[in-house]
């Protein structure tokens, strides 16, 4: 199956709004929400079945066994991540699991072998399967999203033998690990840009991150009428970078209403939905 990934760099540009519309338009039978920090796609893609849940074990973290601990404090002094503190109340050393990076230095240096690294359940992978396959994950709060989890979410979708011309992936904002992991192996990227100074700055950073992968990249602008001058700038920039500029979507109050009612913008008749429809027609020929 060919994979189209929707990215933006900046948050809030309309990635999920566009991705969900594309899923409907393309009749994609497989899709994934890789924005595992803040998954939203499920709110508009109504899955009628219960998901198959799989525990996701995160990076092993340090656990101090109090009974063995002699309170020498060496673990605290060697920890580079300030993850070990002394709890006056309980009179024990304890590990802040959010700060712990699982490096193993404390386990290594503890003179009485009181520290061990253990893998804990950080969240769950979810797989919805009916006529369509929808893969996502829900992380426990504080668990870092990781490239590994993003890769697993994609893999979970890919492993299902479903006949679909295209699979759509809703990516995450930013330029870090999870985004890089989501780009690897996809066939196409659609960047949803926003015509603002912040939006342009972030778009340039995501294009720079994605360019190393040599994936065919499309660019569109959402809420283009907020600033048509910047929209033109984005179009010019895309052309200079040899990326395909595929369309403009207007700011649309009807879109907000549709989303809030749990629909995609192509489930109702509205200006933004029609614009995404045209963008899909443009992209379809190039897939």
């Amino acid at each position: 199956m060919k994979q189209l990934l929707v990215l933006s760099g900046k948050g809030g540009t309309g990635k999920t709004t566009v991705a969900s519309a594309l899923i409907q338009l393309s009749h994609a039978k497989a899709f994934a929400d890789c924005d595992v920090d803040a998954p939203n796609l499920d709110l508009v893609m109504h899955q009628r079945c219960e998901p198959i849940k799989t525990d996701y074990f995160g990076m092993p973290k340090a656990i101090i066994h109090e009974e063995v601990c002699i309170e020498c404090g060496q673990c605290q002094s060697q920890c580079r991540f300030d993850a070990i503190t002394y709890n006056q109340f309980n009179e024990t050393y304890q590990v802040n699991l959010n700060a712990c990076e699982g490096c193993g230095v404390c386990e290594l240096i503890c003179p009485v072998d009181a520290i061990h690294l253990e893998s804990l359940v950080d969240g769950q992978m979810l797989l919805y399967k009916d006529e369509r396959v929808f893969s996502t994950a829900k992380l426990k709060m504080g668990s870092g999203t990781s490239g590994m989890l993003v890769t697993r979410v994609k893999k979970q979708m890919m492993e299902e033998e479903i006949d679909t011309n295209i699979a759509i992936i809703d990516g995450s904002p930013g330029i870090g690990c999870p985004v890089i992991a989501s780009i690897s192996g996809v066939d196409y990227v659609l960047i949803v840009a926003e015509p603002s100074l912040s939006g342009i700055s972030d778009m340039e950073r995501i294009i720079s991150t994605a360019s190393g992968f040599g994936v065919k990249t499309f660019v569109c602008v959402n809420k283009y009428d907020v600033n048509t001058e910047y929209t033109d700038k984005i179009e010019g920039y895309a052309k200079r970078k040899h990326l395909e500029f595929v369309g403009r979507i207007p700011y649309d109050v009807e879109a907000v209403k549709a989303i809030n009612q749990g629909n995609t913008i192509v489930d109702i008749d509205c200006a933004s939905g029609r614009a995404v429809g045209q963008i899909y027609e443009t992209i379809k020929n190039k897939l």
Binding site: K10, N40, A99, E101, V105, S143, G174, G176, V226
Partner: protein, 285 residues
Amino acid sequence: MKIAVLSGKGGTGKTLLALNLASVADKASYLDCDVEEPNGHLFLKPKIQFVEPVEVKMPRINEEKCTGCRKCIDFCRFNALAYVNHSIKVFEDVCHSCGGCTLVCPENAITERNKTIGKIEKGLSENVKVSTGILNIGEASGVPIVKQLIESEASNDELVIIDAPPGSACIVMESIKDADYCVLVAEPTIFGTQNLSMVHELVELFKIPFGVVLNKCLNHDNPAENYCNDHKISIIGKIDYSQELAALSSRGELVSRTNTHYQTLFKTILNRIVEEVAYETTSRT
């Protein structure tokens, strides 16, 4: 007083609020902790006074002392080391700088050197002292930058506005852990509300007093407002969606500096926050 502005979801207007709160104060410091995509400086246009690099430690192998025992490779949980052509190769982009390999090497063949992963730019924009954290492209974690940013203003007794990164992961926690009050910015969509519930959980866990500002409000049912009412969360401000505000912000204009309506609006929110902090302080003592 340290106020952190967070949102869970990107694009809700977190930076808009943080910037304008800082600019309507008599004097304030603004910290841009969204190190992957820092935007505050585009609006504040600070005159940069100095730049400090943010460095992490990277292993350096002394080839002459190395015997190829591979204890360092066996220890490293991040697979940052490999043995090729009779020498150890270091993969800096996955190294977490834990220092473990330097401890484990029986020949003391590993020392450390500094590597720059980003920088902090400090400058001035009228009444606002601006500190921007920037992560170099390709680097994996911005946490050391946020730590350095927060440290640099730790002893600042005056008003500090922290523009947190979106989401609720570790980097957000680092940004808010020393805050006296958190402002959660929410947009009127179900997407925004789902993410609001995540940062809500976060601030409750950290036991930091907080309130919500509803942004981009339209004339219909607001799921974020309903969420706040259901959970008895203080709504400390409401900003209506306005094409004009969107257009001005898109151009990088700091509206409270150029428009009296917005100046008043943001000043009202800031005053409300100050009141809330004072209330929390007195009710705790």
